[in-house]
Symmetry: C2
Subunit: 250 residues, 2 copies
DNA sequence: AGTTATTGGCGTCGAATAAACACCAACCTG
DNA sequence: CAGGTTGGTGTTTATTCGACGCCAATAACT
């Protein structure tokens, strides 16, 4: 952060990196409480101006690493936001990325430019007021994630290396905002042979322990090369229930 | 175009608008032969620097209108390209859009900054050398289009207002690079009730004339609001043939 | 030790969807 | 009027999807 910010303004570009994690049955997003104007005190998405000699992707990885210390994670560009008045101090367009991290993998490293860094559930974050046009950005990135997760097995990026089928199902239910049928889900997932049965059991749970699995990345790349579609669909019955509940809630 | 370009350079952003059309059974893309350095004489995607007080989408529409005179067309942001060295004169990132136009709707208006504007088949354009990183950009946008066309009925944007089912099928075969079964295609398309039978016939064709249809936009928006999936799938038999042909071609 | 509470793990059948497939009709041309 | 070209249509089979319920394994409690 040794760059003189006056050089950037008038016309500059930044990256925002929407960092998703999954914990405790909920999809979470990493937010920073702004310590300076504008929007001081509001929560914002992590981001930074792009250095003059820095590729966009590199900048997005840098933002991530400064916050979490993580380097090799799933990261994807989503959309660029460039409304003329989106930044009160000048013309700043921002390229939005999302990344998927395993919350268990690290402890937060609050970076120098932020006072507070916290995980928020996506639900609540979407409803609260964020700095700049970050509600819009978060919304777009969340939609991109829910779309992507139907097509590619990126969900595994959010789980610890070893997980149970029920955890996986909860993750998908949370991402797709849908109820899934247990038996059909297991059948489908296992029939893809993307999971390796580790022959290990959960420990320390107050009920029958479940088998642990891991995601087989090599296998996935093999299948992908041969044209392979990944899709998970909602149970229609549960969908009806959900829609009914939504109607009542209005 | 009265902006002093020196103000932009060092760090600037542009939009590139990949304009797709469909004609003569082929997907086409509008290219401009560069009349000035860098890359003088090479074909390039239409684009321009974004004005300081202009939204990104507005800039993309402007580029389109300067070339074609068209205003209300389908336009979608795809990806932002920002490698440090992608522009030889300075740091210029570019936001890529694609738009879909009906070639029959207009005659080209070569704009002041271009010497030559021409439709090229996407196939050939991808294989030829384009200016800057435009091969990369075109490739990304073409992939985005083939993906989008599976999910939303955007293909109609490329056809004249009145079209036959065979024309529609050819369009989809061209976009999906797949062979489709005639009867299944017609069954599926018609069952969506997105087409209106105009009770008119083709004229001037040297064979039995086909019925003309138009796309029913209102109907589509109705269906879309009630959750509606649009998908067209390849005939498996034809897929096998195609894959075999690809293997032989290597 | 036995009971209770909680989650894990498994297979079948009916319904819906997708895919393969071939012939006659209509029009133009020469 | 014969030949060439494209238009238009239904049925059957294979595959996929989706609904559905019960016993097993473990820990906690008494």
């Amino acid at each position: 952060m040794k760059h003189n910010e006056n050089n950037f303004f008038k016309s500059a570009f930044s990256v925002d990196n929407i960092i998703f994690g999954f914990d405790d049955g909920d999809l979470k997003v990493l937010l920073i409480k702004r310590g300076a104007s504008p929007f001081k005190g509001l929560w914002a998405l992590p981001g930074d101006l792009v250095y003059p000699n820095e590729d966009l992707d590199t900048a997005a990885y840098r933002v991530l690493e400064e916050l979490t210390g993580l380097k090799k994670v799933y990261l994807e560009q989503v959309h660029t936001f460039g409304a003329v008045d989106r930044h009160p101090l000048g013309r700043v367009i921002t390229i939005a990325y999302f990344s998927l991290v395993k919350i268990s993998d690290f402890t937060l490293m609050p970076s120098s430019f932020a006072q507070n860094v916290e995980w928020h559930t996506v639900d609540k974050a979407l409803k609260s007021q964020l700095a700049f046009d970050h509600n819009d950005i978060l919304n777009t990135c969340f939609n991109a994630l829910t779309h992507r997760v139907r097509i590619r097995p990126v969900g595994f990026e959010l789980l610890p290396p070893k997980f149970t089928l029920t955890e996986l199902q909860h993750l998908y239910e949370s991402l797709l905002q849908a109820g899934l049928d247990k038996r059909n889900f297991r059948k489908k997932i296992l029939s893809m042979s993307l999971l390796v049965d580790l022959d290990e059991l959960q420990e320390g749970v107050p009920h029958r322990p479940a088998k642990l699995y891991k995601f087989d990345k090599e296998r996935y790349h093999q299948l992908e090369a041969h044209g392979f579609s990944f899709e998970v669909k909602e149970s229609k019955k549960k969908e009806k229930k959900r829609r009914l509940a939504e109607l009542i809630a209005q």
